[in-house]
Amino acid sequence: MSRGLLGLLGGVALLVAASFWSLDLQWRQFLSADSMARMGRFLAEMAVPASDAAFLRRLAVATAETLAMSAVGTVLAALAGAALALLASREPALGVAGRQWARVPTRLLLNVLRSIPELVWAALLLISAGLGPFAGTLALALHTTGVLGRLFAETIENAPDGAAMALRVRGVPRGRVFLYATLPQTLPQLMSYTLYRWENNIRAAAILGVVGGGGLGQMLSFHMGLFHMAETGAILMAMIALVALVDLLSWWARRVMGR
């Protein structure tokens, strides 16, 4: 074993030990008969999910709301991401876009948008958009704009420039070169990134509501806060089913498209 590897292992061991030592972890309380009993009771109540018609209708509405949040958030992000990507990319076909003064701040903006998680955005947006699905949708849109903006910018930069060049040498203005050469060439890639982020956003939308951003999550935190375990169980099942369905669909879509 080399000394570097030994040092690395030692460092990791030290980090883990320091972590456990410095956190006031309440294992005794977690493993106590009392909390085990509480956990058991929660699980037992959850195992019989609520199934009255009125509740199921609300559950269906919340599921639809979750899906709508993810879809609207992704579409908004794709539009904003495309606009920012034009500014952030080094595509010479575009007037402003090729310039440093637009590119650097736009990249910084995209980085900030991306590095703050959806849930933190949702908590921040509650202040201006209020409780409800609108805050969640905007939160998804902001984070996804950061992600898609960067991916789009890279796609535009890496697009083959033969067609764009052909139009440019004939004197076609830059905006139209993008619309008729670069965009059609990159569109499939942009679509596939967008669909991939939509899949991610469905998962994120399901839990965003926990901080008040609407959808299944908001319903979950409401019922869990009141210890309605039967309802909680049903909502959890809806969430897991939704995520599993999305996984299945995306696996299937990838297989179909891969052929």
Binding site: S19, F30, R38, A68, A71, I127, S128, R170, A206, V210
Partner: protein, 286 residues
């Protein structure tokens, strides 16, 4: 794009030839169709952007965002933020350590690369059933988001880092177990089967057959997941599981823009640092 394309396209007849779009009917149709499809979704999410610019909301937002500058920089507060950053990292690290402890035995149980019975024909039905059962357990563990686990554990053990550590441990055990299994099964099976055929035990085959060939990839994935755990342990704080997120949540509820700004900055730096460390480590692993 010159004057030869004089054929007037209906609806665009007034435009100069250079502005005519041969595919405009299709574009208009798809734009309208997309709007029609989006309309119910916009209603469902209560899409009312004008809420953002209502005078009351605007005033509160402006005050909150105005508070961002300057960020809170008092020595006491910075010390608090430093402690919370460490706790965030510690929650992620402790959670990962537990996840690893859980995932390793589950991987050994579910991995078909060290199956003895499948050396000669098909896997024994009992072994197959056990492996499938463990795989289902892994699916259940990772299909519940860590935030939901944290909500449940906060109800059981109370507010604080214990819930965060447990939540990360369970979800990440599911993810690690699944990906470890995939890595081990996609590698070259020859050394392992050679060991097993010559009478080595499963554990020996694992340590001397699978680990030398797949060890770097396994470690690299684990480091990547640790980086993800740091991000998610911050988010877990918002439901009361300790760390930077919990502090951020408190400051947001008190509309303290300056503190929020400092913590957002700290969070962005932390994530960037973890990203740098993790990619350096992974590069070193090859």
């Amino acid at each position: 794009m010159n004057s030869r394309s004089t054929a007037a396209v209906s609806g665009q007849a007034g435009l100069s030839p250079a502005l005519r779009d041969p595919a405009w009917t299709g574009r208009v149709f798809w734009a309208l169709a997309a709007l029609l499809l989006m309309a119910p979704a916009l209603v469902a999410v209560e899409f009312k952007p004008w809420v953002l610019v209502e005078p009351d909301n605007l005033r509160i937002t402006a005050r909150f965002v105005g508070d961002f500058f300057p960020p809170a920089m008092s020595a006491d507060f910075l010390k608090l933020v430093a402690v919370e950053i460490w706790r965030t990292v510690a929650i992620a690290t402790a959670g990962m350590a537990l996840a690893l402890l859980l995932a390793l035995p589950l991987t050994l149980l579910s991995c078909s690369a060290i199956s003895v019975s499948s050396l000669s024909g098909r896997m024994h039905p009992l072994a197959l059933a056990l492996r499938q059962a463990v795989r289902w357990l892994l699916i259940v563990l990772r299909s519940v988001p860590e935030l939901i686990w944290a909500l449940v554990f906060v109800r059981v053990v109370g507010l604080g880092p214990t819930a965060g550590v447990l939540a990360i441990a369970l979800t990440y055990a599911g993810m690690l177990g699944k990906v470890y299994g995939e890595i081990l099964e996609s590698g070259d099976p020859a050394p392992t089967t050679a060991l097993l055929r010559n009478g080595s035990g499963r554990l020996q085959a694992f340590f001397y057959g699978l680990m030398p060939t797949n060890g770097a990839e396994l470690t690299s994935y684990t480091v990547y997941r640790w980086e993800c755990a740091i991000r998610s342990s911050t988010v877990l704080g918002f439901v009361g599981a300790g760390g930077l997120g919990q502090q951020m949540d408190t400051s947001m509820k008190m509309f303290n823009g300056g503190e929020v700004a400092t913590m957002l900055l700290a969070f962005v730096l932390l994530v960037a640092l973890a990203d740098r460390v993790s990619s350096r480590l992974r590069k070193a692993l090859g």
